[in-house]
Amino acid sequence: MTAVIKPAPVRKSVKVGAPIERAFDIFTTGLGRWWPRSHSIGKSPIASAVIEPRAGGRWYEIGEDGSECDWGEVLAWEPPTRVLLAWRIGVDWQFDPKLLTEVDVRFTAIGDGETRVELEHRQLENMGEAAAKAREVFDSEGGWGGLLAAYRSAVETP
């Protein structure tokens, strides 16, 4: 029997004072205007961040030296209601094309010029596997039963 580490997805919601089209545009094509500069994986300090506006488009940061560092790609592009992104950054803080976690962002118009943005970062269990860099470890008995139970309760505690 294979034990599966399954951390709860990260879920966030924010209400913004803009119509849905504008909220979607600023989130996606305007990413570089607001993405915190502290959240960077490149060797050079981050100058901007880009989501290419199409399914299959790249999602990456641009360093001050012009270098580009991939984060993942656009899995679904459904303006102005949804963008689904692949986040392929591992726990060693490197881009890993084999790692897939998903960031699902949904936009809902609420009343006059307001939009609710709901974000879910899921499949974090894939990151847990990358963390161990040893999938067989999770498949082996090796005393992981208790560990997994402890881990699950730790990550699911709100």
Binding site: V16, M127, K133
Partner: protein
């Protein structure tokens, strides 16, 4: 965010990741780890210290030596880091929308 970062940085070093994998495979002592790694015992101890500080492993005293186990706290902290990262990011997004609206007026 220095602490949660530590788990990721700790695993970036290939030798340290190997130490972590071995400990994840089953609990081991420094001496056991040194036997299967191409580095000295002080070096193994140093890697374990970094992994401990990142809360990826924990030590349990057994007789004269420590036995190292995987610490689930380190993995949980990675999720916590992402949780905070998205808080920061959405706060910044909301502010950008607010300032864009002011400019439009």
């Amino acid at each position: 965010m220095s602490y949660d970062y530590a788990a990721m940085v700790a695993l970036a070093d290939p030798t340290r990741r190997k130490v972590f994998e071995l400990v994840a495979d089953r609990p081991r002592s420094v001496a056991e780890l040194t036997r299967v790694l191409p580095v000295s015992q002080p070096a193994v101890s140093q890697h374990l210290r970094v992994l401990r500080e990142a809360r990826l492993v924990r030590a349990e005293a057994r007789g004269a030596s420590n036995i190292y186990h995987v610490d689930p706290q380190g993995l949980a902290s990675m999720r916590a880091w992402l949780d905070r990262m998205w808080d920061d990011a959405l706060d910044a997004f909301k502010q950008e929308i607010g300032s864009a609206k002011e400019q439009a007026r």
